[in-house]
């Protein structure tokens, strides 16, 4: 069960990745191979099996509603590739 080129293009868009035509073909094959291998999972009857969302049995892990020091504006922006007026800057967003 290979992936089609359309599948790859759809997923690439969801993941905000872009590929050349050759890469799309290669991915369709490589991912298809992995998914083929993973098809074995469908052999198992898991209709009565609960999914494991957490390996631990932890529950109700909370934190107190107490303010702690923040980063300064400079610290927050220290790694920013582009900033202006104390904010992160991106290309114009149409809303």
């Amino acid at each position: 069960m290979s992936l089609t080129r359309e599948d790859v293009t759809y997923v690439a868009n969801l993941a905000r990745l872009e590929f050349t035509d050759a890469e799309v073909t290669a991915l369709a094959d490589q991912l298809g191979a992995v998914l083929d291998y993973a098809q074995t999972l469908s052999e198992l009857d898991t209709s009565e099996v609960k999914a494991t969302e957490h390996v631990l049995q932890l529950k109700n892990v909370f934190r107190e509603d107490v303010v702690k020091p923040c980063l300064t504006n400079e610290q927050a922006l220290a790694n920013a590739p582009d900033s202006e007026a104390g904010c992160f800057k991106v290309p114009r967003v149409m809303e």
């Binding site: 990745l17 291998y37 609960k50 390996v55 631990l56 992160f88 114009r92």
Partner: protein
């Protein structure tokens, strides 16, 4: 013997007797780095000057008091996916080429408190995705036993640093075997603790429900020492266990009389390298001689672990890596046309091929129409695998398996076939799926002198039992003293 070749506990003896100073110890390791790093390339970033300075500070303190902890004054390395404030943390990716975190990983804070001396950040597969460290965006790390072979991955640099004596211990991360497999390929001890024992805060996430931080050391006793330092509850990590702290060095040398050691056929199928099989058989015999009881155990669902692993880890990774968009930190593409193009160009240029492959796989597994068949199915199979281990551990105390089907392969040998690369994780992956602890220790050499590793696994929170079994074998054999050719140079 050079100081850099010794173990932590040996150094501690010498420090206690005041036969050496921390500065001398640190200088020895730095000299070693100067000598071999050019060949092995284990480190991405070195802090030699800072380390020597820190060593001098510790020496001053030790004039007035005893060591406050076993790791005080001990030089170590950290995998470059552990955040270190003020020191670049790149995850061996172009995406974080200039990232300077304004916070420390929790484990780094713990080691600072212990008084350890950071030597530098070690190389890895980009974002911890890989089994050979060939996916680093910066350099290829070489196996000190054969410089043309891979050190394993993704914590290759951390394994090599300990194997070539350019660190007394290192920390790595293990999501599907990324500590144990390189430990096995490099002939050192590597351990993945029970999920939740070590805080993940500050470990750049790959697969949140599978990632764990663990030590690389030269022997099992050192492993217990490091474990003592890094295990513990962290309120910044909601998945951190809050239980009574244990001393992992206690009863380490108790022996294995009466210990039930399980052996499962599932781990000895075809594809297992002949010498690996032989070493494991020898190990079984040694354990028998030491008084352990060898028990045949069997699994029902082990074959499905690798598929479940790749679906779950890729899915979580696709979500964890979505934050890399060139807006708040890291790499940003130079040219782009509008917002969406900024995302696409930044992520396509910033990530390497393997990372992009996994993101694609994971995104697909979660996407509309496929979630039930892939991700949900994998989570259900995860339950079956957990229960499988639960059932196995009813019949034995620890499980003995090879760490990897083969010894280290050649650099470039598997890079064209992702699926073949994934298959090398087949024995390590089930451990992360089940959340149980596992250690890899050296148990032999193959015909060309490459190290073979064996795994000891146990139920959740059974670290002490595993360490005890590991120490007994190590003590009975001499593998810990067989050093890499590069390691033998004095």
């Amino acid at each position: 013997m050079e100081l850099s070749q010794k173990t932590i506990h040996e150094i501690n003896d010498l420090l206690k007797k005041k036969e050496v100073t921390v500065t001398e110890v640190t200088q020895s390791v730095i000299n070693r780095i100067d000598g071999v790093e050019g060949s092995t390339d284990a480190y991405l970033r070195l802090q030699s000057e800072e380390a020597l300075h820190a060593a001098k500070v510790v020496d001053e303190k030790l004039k007035a008091r005893k060591k406050k902890s076993p790791l005080e004054g001990i030089p170590y390395g950290l995998k470059d996916n552990l955040c270190t404030q003020g020191i670049l943390t790149t995850c061996a990716s172009k995406m974080l080429y200039n990232f300077n975190p304004p916070y420390n990983a929790h484990v780094y804070n713990l080691l600072i408190e212990e008084g350890g001396i950071l030597l530098g950040k070690t190389n890895m597969d980009e974002f911890a995705m890989g089994s050979s460290t060939e996916n680093s965006a910066y350099k290829v790390t070489r196996n000190p036993w054969d410089l043309n072979k891979v050190p394993g991955g993704s914590s290759g640099g951390s394994a090599v640093a300990v194997a070539s004596n350019t660190a007394f211990f290192t920390l790595g991360s293990d999501t599907g075997g990324s500590i144990r497999q390189p430990a096995s390929f490099c002939g050192v001890v590597g351990m993945k603790p029970t999920y939740g024992l070590v805080s993940r805060y500050g470990l750049v996430a790959f697969a949140s429900s599978l990632d764990q931080i663990g030590p690389f050391t030269k022997d099992v006793e050192d492993c217990a020492l490091v474990l003592n330092a890094i295990v513990g509850h962290d309120e910044k990590d909601s998945t951190s266990l809050n239980i009574e702290k244990k001393d992992y060095t206690k009863n380490l040398k108790q022996g294995v009389k009466g210990l039930r050691i399980g052996v499962a056929q599932a781990f000895f199928g075809e594809g297992l390298q002949t010498e690996v099989r032989k070493s494991l058989e020898d190990a079984i015999a040694i354990y028998k001689a030491l008084g352990a009881e060898i028990v045949d155990v069997s699994f029902q669902y082990l074959d499905y672990a690798l598929s479940a692993y790749y679906l779950i880890s890729s899915a979580e990774a696709s979500s964890n890596l979505a934050r890399y968009d060139g807006i708040r930190y890291g790499f940003r593409a130079e040219e782009y046309d509008g917002l969406v193009d900024l995302y696409r160009k930044t992520r396509s240029q910033g990530f390497g091929d393997e990372v992009k492959r996994r993101i694609m796989l994971g995104t697909h597994a979660l996407s509309s129409g496929y979630y039930d068949a892939y991700y949900k199915k994998a989570m259900q199979v995860r339950t079956l695998i957990k229960e499988d281990f639960d059932q196995v551990f009813k019949g034995c105390d620890v499980l003995l398996t090879p760490t990897s089907p083969t010894t280290a392969f050649g650099i470039g040998e598997k890079t064209n076939n992702p699926l073949e690369m994934y298959l090398t994780d087949i024995y390590t992956v089930p451990v992360n799926i089940a959340g149980i602890p596992g250690i890899s220790i050296p148990c032999g050499l193959d015909q060309v002198g490459m190290p073979i590793g064996m795994q000891l696994l146990g139920p959740v929170l059974s670290e002490k039992t595993i360490l005890k079994a590991a120490w007994a074998f190590e003590n009975e054999t001499n593998y810990k003293n067989i050093k890499a050719p590069l390691g033998r140079e004095v």
